[in-house]
């Protein structure tokens, strides 16, 4: 395996770690934020559990969209780097 191939594979594994690590935690983070924010707002306005449930249901599609956004943005940047690298070498 040539030097540049090994370097390319090393970059790929690092990028994969970044994407998968983020994607794995995003669903949890978005849901937690929406529940905690909902509980706080319910406490402030005394409307328990309406706002919590509303934010909870809003959090579900948001977490899916955020996850897809992160994955596509990182992959697009990876593709850009690979094309730039192949033009220079």
């Amino acid at each position: 395996m040539t030097q540049s191939e090994q370097k390319g594979r090393s970059i790929l594994t690092n990028v994969l770690i970044v994407i998968i690590g983020q994607v794995g935690c995003l669903t949890l983070v978005v849901i937690l934020v929406s529940v905690l924010l909902g509980l706080w707002l319910d406490g402030v306005f005394g409307t328990k559990p309406v706002i919590t449930l509303a934010l909870l249901f809003a959090g579900i599609p948001v977490s899916v969209l955020v996850m897809l956004g992160v994955a596509r943005k990182t992959l697009a940047r990876l593709k850009e780097n690979v094309e730039k690298e192949s033009q220079t070498s």
Binding site: M1, Q3, Q6, K7, R9, S10, L12, T13, N14, L16, I17, I20, G21, V23, G24, C25, T27, L28, I31, L32, P49, T52, L53, L56, F57, I60, V64, M67
Partner: protein, 326 residues
């Protein structure tokens, strides 16, 4: 050619199920279950006691563990039979054999892209972990999981429910306050920190084993990097410190693996419990959350397997050559 008329009956079945769900949701009022981080004991007396560690109880994730393993064996047998049957006919895999082959092919190509010639060592780990966690995550979505179990008296200071006789010694919870809580017979194994920690330990230790197999004793230079210590002392010291940080990051991988899967799955059962407890009457809403749980379960299985594979692939790549080049 005569146009075959398709009658869209599925939507009427779905509408019927929603109406039945609404009616049943009214008759059998959904009750907010007790949400505990640790799995519940099915029998009060411990199964056995070890001198140092202490008591071992029969908790409700153990039946699920056995059920998952049995289902995996049935799945493997079914795939094997399907592929054997197609091998005898026209070599075109069908049904479960075809679906499994397609998924594993995708994963194999992914592994080859990241691990190169070590694909035959890394791929089994990826596929095994992913299929096992996938079965564990999807099994807990079946109806009856976490909702049928043994009644316990509620501990003082906690909220319990009253019960009403259903038949024989089977009871139903009612919405009124009472002194009973439920320890479900089955609880998802990925909602048990013991399972996720054990799997994380196995995965991270396997990463080190693959690292040693690929680079031999040179793999240790990743943690104790003394290569440039003598010719470029300052950078050598920096490399050494970075190596120690790598050691700490290996340990943090165990925590991240374990808590990522556990956190996502536990958040899932809390979500389903809250929504079903409060909005159980409108059965479409808990169904939406269950769909989201299905999606998160598949994503988490893929993330656990893929991260194991990528860390293994990274462990097979030496750092030595690049330094030698500068």
């Amino acid at each position: 050619m005569e146009q075959v008329k398709h009658r869209p009956w599925r939507r009427w079945v779905l509408l019927g199920l929603l109406i039945v769900g609404y009616i049943l949701g009214g008759r059998f009022v959904p009750v907010q279950p007790e949400i505990t981080v640790a799995p519940e004991k099915l029998i009060e007396e411990p199964l056995f006691t070890l001198p140092v560690i202490g008591d071992f109880y029969l908790v409700n994730t153990m039946p699920t563990l056995i059920l998952t393993v049995i289902l995996l064996m049935i799945f493997a047998y079914a795939v094997n039979r399907s592929l054997k049957k197609s091998a005898q006919t026209d070599l075109v895999p069908r049904g479960i054999g075809n679906a499994t082959e397609a998924i594993l092919e995708v994963i194999y190509n992914m592994t080859e892209g990241a691990a190169g010639k070590w694909v035959r060592t890394v791929f089994p780990w990826f596929a095994t972990i992913m299929i096992y966690v996938l079965f564990a995550n999807l099994l807990k979505l079946l109806p009856g999981f976490e909702s049928i179990g043994v009644l316990h008296h509620v501990a003082p200071g906690h909220e319990g429910h009253a019960k009403e006789l259903l038949a024989g010694n089977w009871y139903l919870f009612t919405a009124e306050e009472g002194e009973y809580i439920l320890a479900p017979f089955f609880r998802g194994i990925s909602v048990d920190l013991n399972f996720t920690f054990a799997l994380a330990l196995i995965a991270v230790v396997a990463v080190q084993v693959v690292g040693f197999r690929a680079q031999g004793i040179g793999y240790l230079s990743k943690f104790f990097n003394t290569r440039r210590m003598f010719n470029v002392p300052f950078f050598g010291a920096m490399d050494f410190l970075v190596g120690l940080l790598e050691l700490i990051s290996e340990i943090s991988k165990i925590l991240s693996f374990a808590f990522r899967l556990f956190g996502n799955m536990f958040a899932g059962i809390v979500l389903v419990a809250i929504v079903a407890g409060l909005l159980g009457k409108f059965s479409i809403l808990p169904a939406m959350v269950m769909m989201f749980e299905l999606f998160v379960g598949i994503i988490q299985a893929f993330v656990f397997g893929m991260l194991t594979m990528v860390f293994m692939a990274q462990a097979t790549q030496g750092h030595g050559e690049e330094h030698a080049e500068h």
